[in-house]
């Protein structure tokens, strides 16, 4: 994939400042985000010939033909579409596939868009995702009423048993990102917390406490991508897609690997290889943090620390923006800033802002290379992007 490195760029980015959007349909929120990203790029809706969306899940407003519904709603007829839904990292995967589409001439200006409104969307709305539907493989698991959080709990508990990871180390992830959120006026939760606060919060699904879990917000964001050549003529400094990788692995809990490796162990090396880089080249990282255990496993799979070493790695302060070796989730992440359900797009948006120097909160000085990494479901999928200016 090396030939694809740097051939395309993100030229517009927008994150809705909303965290509550009562009675706002998610498509209306997507329109706010799409226009915001196009304005940022200095482009118009009429310039768009590609649309990427994954809006068919609960609280996202669409159904099985979501990308058509969205195109109709916003009023375009794109000739390139991608509605691949691999969960929270869908938008990172779509950025990589959009790059390939642009580089091969399938599309010229691609919008990647996401919004969801879980705070008001009716709980009774049916869902057929693998975490609730008791047919096929799910017939052997869903009757036991697993919750999403309890599956992360299975990962966290086994990580503690295998590697000696402690609840305090997990909690440090939430404490660090809350510290970053304190500087972000858009973040949902900004009051600093301590490790003791995390451990004193109620257990939701052991060993995870409430403050080990992400916030639940409404929200959305969008990106605009185009070719390297066209990017040079636009309003903002292009942020080039240097590396990309994605992989899918499993949906069922019974298929969790013994050593807790996740598909990030495939997506990460592919992204680094395409970029011709190593973890040491990353100046700032945005790593999906649905729960405190989530970025810890990613740090191991991506090679920022060894297998089983993420506990001591995060406890040593490596993720802190002030002095850490790998400033991570500078916006506060899903644990503190926003989490409508698939927050992968925000890892790209904050990466762009860091590289352009216009972050809403903490700004890492002179960042030249950023990593955006997401997962889908319960470590079911992974996608990694390396962005550079």
């Amino acid at each position: 994939m090396k030939h694809l490195s740097g051939k395309t760029a993100i030229v517009g980015a927008y994150e809705s400042p909303r965290r509550d959007a009562p009675r706002v349909h998610p498509f209306a929120l997507q329109m706010e985000c799409i226009l915001g990203a196009l304005d940022d790029a200095g482009l118009a809706l009429t310039d768009v010939d590609g649309l990427c969306a994954a809006s068919g899940d609960w609280a996202e407003g669409g159904g099985t033909m979501d990308v058509i519904e969205l195109a109709e709603y916003i009023g375009i007829q794109p000739t390139y579409v991608n509605s691949t839904d691999v969960g929270g990292c869908s938008y990172i995967l779509q950025a990589g596939q959009a790059a390939a589409a642009i580089a091969t001439g399938l599309a010229e200006v691609v919008v990647i868009s996401y919004a969801a409104c879980p705070r008001w969307w009716p709980l009774s709305t049916p869902s057929f995702d693998p975490f609730v539907f008791p047919a096929g493989p799910g017939q052997y698991e869903i009757p036991y009423a697993p919750t999403l959080i309890s599956t992360y709990g299975l990962f966290a508990r086994r990580h503690m048993d295998l590697y000696g990871t402690t609840p305090e180390q997990l909690a440090q992830v939430a404490v660090t990102f809350r510290g970053h959120a304190a500087a972000n006026p858009q973040a949902r939760l900004r009051k600093p917390i301590t490790v003791d606060d995390v451990l004193a919060s109620p257990v939701i699904a052991s060993p995870l406490h409430r403050l080990d879990c992400c916030v639940v917000t409404d929200g959305g964001g969008a990106l605009v991508m185009t070719s390297r050549e066209r990017a040079r003529d636009l309003k903002r400094r292009p942020v080039y897609l240097a590396g990309y990788g994605a992989a899918v692995a499993r949906t069922q809990n019974s298929q969790i690997p013994d050593d807790l490796s996740t598909p990030a162990a495939l997506s990460g090396p592919r992204a680094f290889a395409m970029a011709g880089m190593t973890p040491a080249d990353i100046d700032v990282a945005q790593i999906y943090d649905a729960f405190t255990i989530t970025p810890m496993l990613a740090l191991e799979d991506l090679g920022f620390c060894g297998r089983g070493e993420s506990g001591p790695f995060v406890a040593a302060g490596n993720l802190a923006a002030d002095g850490g070796s790998l400033p991570t989730n500078t916006d506060g992440g899903g644990l503190s800033s926003n989490h409508p359900g698939k927050r992968g797009i925000f890892t790209l948006i904050e990466s762009v802002r860091q590289l352009r120097g216009d972050a809403p909160g903490i700004q890492v000085p002179d960042a030249k290379v950023a990593l955006a990494h997401g997962l889908g479901g319960t470590f079911c999928s992974a996608a990694t992007a390396i962005l550079a200016v």
Binding site: P134, A135, G136, P137, Q139, Y140, E141, I142, P143, Y144, A145, P146, T147, I149, S150, T151, Y152, G153, L154, F155, A156, R157, R158, D161, P202, V203, I204, A205, S206, P207, L208, Q252, N253, S254, Q255, I256, D258
Partner: protein, 138 residues
């Protein structure tokens, strides 16, 4: 036991599994070509994709691999324990563990299958300490 209210939707492949569960037997699949076991059940062998797996009765014994006690979320009743159980046959299955207090849960605890009868057609396998058959009502 917190109520398990979502019934599985059996199909052609899984019918023998649920029939045996009604009789209190726990079946898993074995590949006829490689002799390797697989879980979850499929219409094909993941070890030899053109082969049709055969059903065999499992020992029903295993050990606790990982667990999470659900205190808040789906539950409208008491907390319940979701678990990964490693069977003696080497496959890992997802189930519930009952009959062990939360503070006593430890990876490696020995477990044995028991069954909860949910209706006339479905008896759901769960796991308890060996020799403790109090939870089996299949």
């Amino acid at each position: 036991m917190t109520a398990m209210t979502t019934l599985p939707i059996p199909d052609e492949t899984s019918a023998p599994f649920w029939e045996a569960a009604r009789e209190g037997r726990f079946l898993i699949q074995r590949c006829p070509e490689t002799g390797l076991y697989q879980w979850y059940p499929r219409a094909h062998s993941i070890h030899a994709p053109h082969a049709t797996p055969e059903w065999v009765e499992a020992s029903g014994r295993g050990e606790l691999l990982s667990y999470s006690v659900v205190h808040r979320g789906n539950t409208r009743g008491d907390p319940y324990t979701c678990a990964l159980v490693r069977l003696e046959e080497g496959v890992t299955i997802f189930s519930r563990v009952e009959g062990i207090a939360e503070g006593s849960l430890r990876a490696g605890l020995p477990l044995a299958v028991a069954f909860h009868r949910l209706d006339e057609t479905i008896s759901l396998p769960i796991f308890r300490p060996p020799g403790d058959a109090s939870g089996s009502d299949a």
